[in-house]
């Protein structure tokens, strides 16, 4: 179906929903590279006017990737809940934005829409929003998840401790874990990106974290971010798997390029649930969120699997995949992909806030890897800006990397100090279980025994 908008005496036409969404997207290099961006600034706003008038109900009739050929589309359509959608079914996209910002839209009411929203509706409304809108609405929605810590509570912000090492060296990784724990990071997860994607390395690193965790009574969860099939093999061989990780994207073909499918993720989720390794959390309930997903705008285009859809809409479709598995953690790795997808800090900052907003609206425990590469037009000041904006927006967690310099993945993320900064600036605290540990005998022992770091690897 074609959509039209008239600006003065000039009329614009958009061939289908896919093209309308793409043209309405704030400028970013990835959409230009894909050839789907608006040709002029005026065309972009014209598309936004047309999108604002589009009834939300229309999204049920028109898909951006065909139902028949894409399992992500089938997941979105087949799990759509009309009852949850009922309160907003008569609204247009523009009216939906107005409602989200109104006093009537409490966090509870927005959260109630979760299963009635499709990713395309959420992407659409975000395209009509300025940064302050993205922050104000996201701030209302808290998504709380539990394993051994509780992440996402109001007034709290967690950090993933990311102790990567260029050769997966156990001592080097232990040194970075010690450093991070002493600086208050690690309450979201201790998560290692391994260089070698195999069962032996994955198991070795999981055992390393597990030994430290039990020795010093640290309330946290571990994860080795190997391919999901590697983690499953390690799990079956008896490795202590807490969270199961996978990178995901918003189309079936992009997921295939990652070597995953919905059924594989389901298999992993089932296998992880049977381990029941979660603990009793601060509110007395047992932690049962076991999946960890990473995403990022541009990944589908990079895999040549974008189907002419803009990268932000596809990113939100990845959240529909995540939503199906009640994950513990989901974060966009926003600036990792490079300047051909998000050219500069302006594009990275907006994308980070869009991703956080859209994820929260779909009920995800959104964190963000606030990051950039050396060939992007961005620097530490820009990361401070995005970090501060996300802190205000209520982000669940960020990354903690020694000195913000990941020596394995070769990009810059946020440091342990950055996590301390944002907590101090906004009066935020770590997860309650972890906060209690920081004042406990376990922390005391770690700080004393850590003076001989070479002994951390012993029993």
């Amino acid at each position: 179906m074609a959509y039209k908008a008239t600006i003065g005496n000039r009329s614009y036409q958009f061939d289908d929903l896919r093209s309308l969404l793409a043209r309405a997207t704030p400028l970013r290099s990835g959409d230009q590279l894909a050839g789907v961006a608006a040709a002029t600034a005026e065309e972009r706003v014209a598309a936004q006017f047309a999108l604002a008038d589009l009834p939300l109900a229309n999204f049920q009739n028109e898909t951006v990737v065909p139902y028949e050929s894409d399992e992500v589309t089938r997941l979105i359509i087949d799990t759509h809940n009309p009852e949850a959608f009922a309160p907003i079914r008569s609204l247009t996209v523009g009216e939906f934005r107005n409602w989200l910002l109104s006093d009537d839209a409490t966090g509870e009411r927005i959260a109630g829409l979760r299963d009635g929203l499709t990713p395309e509706m959420v992407a659409a409304v975000s395209k009509l929003m300025r940064i302050q809108d993205l922050i104000l609405v996201a701030q209302k929605v808290r998504v709380v998840t539990r394993f051994r810590t509780t992440v996402g509570l109001p007034g709290r912000m967690s950090a993933r401790l990311q102790p990567n090492h260029p050769t997966d060296d156990a001592a080097g990784i232990a040194a970075a874990i010690l450093d991070g724990l002493l600086l208050g990071s690690g309450d979201a997860v201790i998560g290692i990106n391994p260089v070698s994607d195999n069962v032996a390395t994955t198991t070795k690193l999981l055992l390393l974290i597990d030994a430290l965790r039990t020795r010093f009574n640290i309330p946290t969860q571990s994860c080795v971010l190997a391919h999901i099939t590697t983690q499953l093999d390690a799990l079956r061989a008896g490795a202590p798997i807490d969270l199961l990780f996978q990178s995901i994207a918003g189309t079936e073909t992009a997921n295939k390029s990652f070597g995953v499918s919905l059924s594989l993720l389901e298999e992993a989720h089932d296998a992880g649930q049977q381990l029941a390794r979660g603990a009793q959390c601060a509110d007395g309930s047992i932690g049962r969120n076991i999946m960890y997903f990473e995403t990022g705008q541009g990944s589908a285009l990079s895999a040549n699997a974008h189907h002419g859809v803009d990268q932000q809409t596809l990113e939100v479709r990845a959240y529909a995949v995540a939503r199906a598995f009640e994950p513990m953690l989901v974060n966009t790795v926003v600036g990792f992909i490079g300047p051909e997808y998000l050219y500069d800090s302006k594009q990275i900052i907006r994308a980070g806030l869009e991703d956080h907003f859209c994820g929260k609206l779909l009920g995800l425990p959104m964190g963000c890897d606030v990051c950039y590469t050396n060939h992007a037009e961005a620097d530490q000041d820009d990361m401070d800006s995005l970090l501060t904006l996300l802190g205000v927006a209520g982000v669940n967690y960020i990354m903690g990397v020694p000195g913000a310099d990941d020596v394995m993945l070769n990009y810059q993320s946020t440091s342990f100090h950055d996590a301390l900064y944002i907590r101090q600036a906004l009066g935020l605290r770590p997860a309650p279980e972890f906060e209690a540990w920081l004042a406990s005998e376990g922390f005391e022992r770690l700080s004393i025994e850590g003076r001989q770091p070479e002994r951390l690897l012993g029993a």
Binding site: A176, A376, L420, Q424, G450, P453
Partner: protein
């Protein structure tokens, strides 16, 4: 910082931890923040990486250097990208030659074409490319070598077009890698059998981290020769070559 107890980072502990990992551990803190020295060290590393990304290759000088090393004229080419800003946003254009460059290349029957590309670090090319070529040339003197070419504003896949136009059976492409914070001058090498426009990365073999603190020119050249000989034997490069080969020491760290 009510929830976090101060912990002391002595020089001794810092040295111990820094010996365990190249990561920026044991920085200590002032309040919650990094100390001035650590902050400036980071800014310096980033500044060097940024300068490397935006540096313009001194192609004329490299050309003279390579002509001396090889004893033959070197062809200076350019991708379809005019300048750096476009280069960073349009990888597709960096993979193709401009029209003038295409016309410069004469088809022959060559065993190997060596292509030098600035990529994301002209610094890496200026510091390491001539050294690698100096070492490798005597080792492959039995093969028919196409004229050396230099491509400005190029990506890895530009070698496919160069190799195809030259009629080379195999292309060895030296390119400046994306600068890391502590490695602004790292050179990568890609070896591709039967270069044709449209080859994928799975059809190439790669050696990375060639620089003074990483893989030496000598070791890199030995690996390149290994890949050239294996590719000629198996008539392929990429995943297939890797899987069928014996254990090859991979680049760098």
């Amino acid at each position: 910082m009510s929830y976090l107890k101060p912990t002391e980072t002595t020089i001794e502990l810092r040295n111990k931890l820094r010996a365990m990992t190249p990561a920026r551990v044991a920085m200590g803190r002032t309040g919650v923040s990094q100390l001035t020295r650590d902050q400036l060290n980071f800014q310096l590393a980033h500044a060097q990486a940024r300068d490397a990304v935006h540096a313009q290759l001194d192609a004329a000088s490299l050309c003279r250097q390579l002509e001396k090393v090889s004893g033959h004229p070197v062809e200076l080419l350019h991708s379809a990208v005019a300048e750096r800003t476009t280069y960073l946003q349009r990888p597709d254009l960096g993979r193709r030659l401009d029209d003038t460059s295409r016309q410069k290349l004469q088809r022959g029957a060559f065993d190997v074409a060596i292509v030098i590309v600035d990529g994301l670090s002209a610094l890496a090319v200026e510091r390491n490319a001539a050294a690698v070529i100096t070492v490798i040339l005597p080792h492959i003197s039995d093969l028919k070598l196409a004229p050396l070419t230099i491509v400005e504003q190029g990506r890895v896949a530009v070698g496919d077009e160069v190799g195809e136009l030259l009629g080379a059976q195999l292309v060895v492409l030296l390119i400046g890698e994306r600068p890391g914070l502590s490695s602004p001058d790292s050179l990568g090498v890609y070896i591709t059998w039967e270069p044709r426009i449209g080859r994928t990365d799975a059809e190439r073999n790669c050696i990375s981290n060639i620089r003074s603190e990483g893989l030496s020119a000598e070791k890199a050249a030995a690996q390149i020769e290994y890949y050239i000989r294996s590719a000629r034997k198996l008539k392929l490069t990429g995943v297939g070559l890797k899987e069928s080969s014996l254990q090859v020491e991979e680049g760098g760290a």
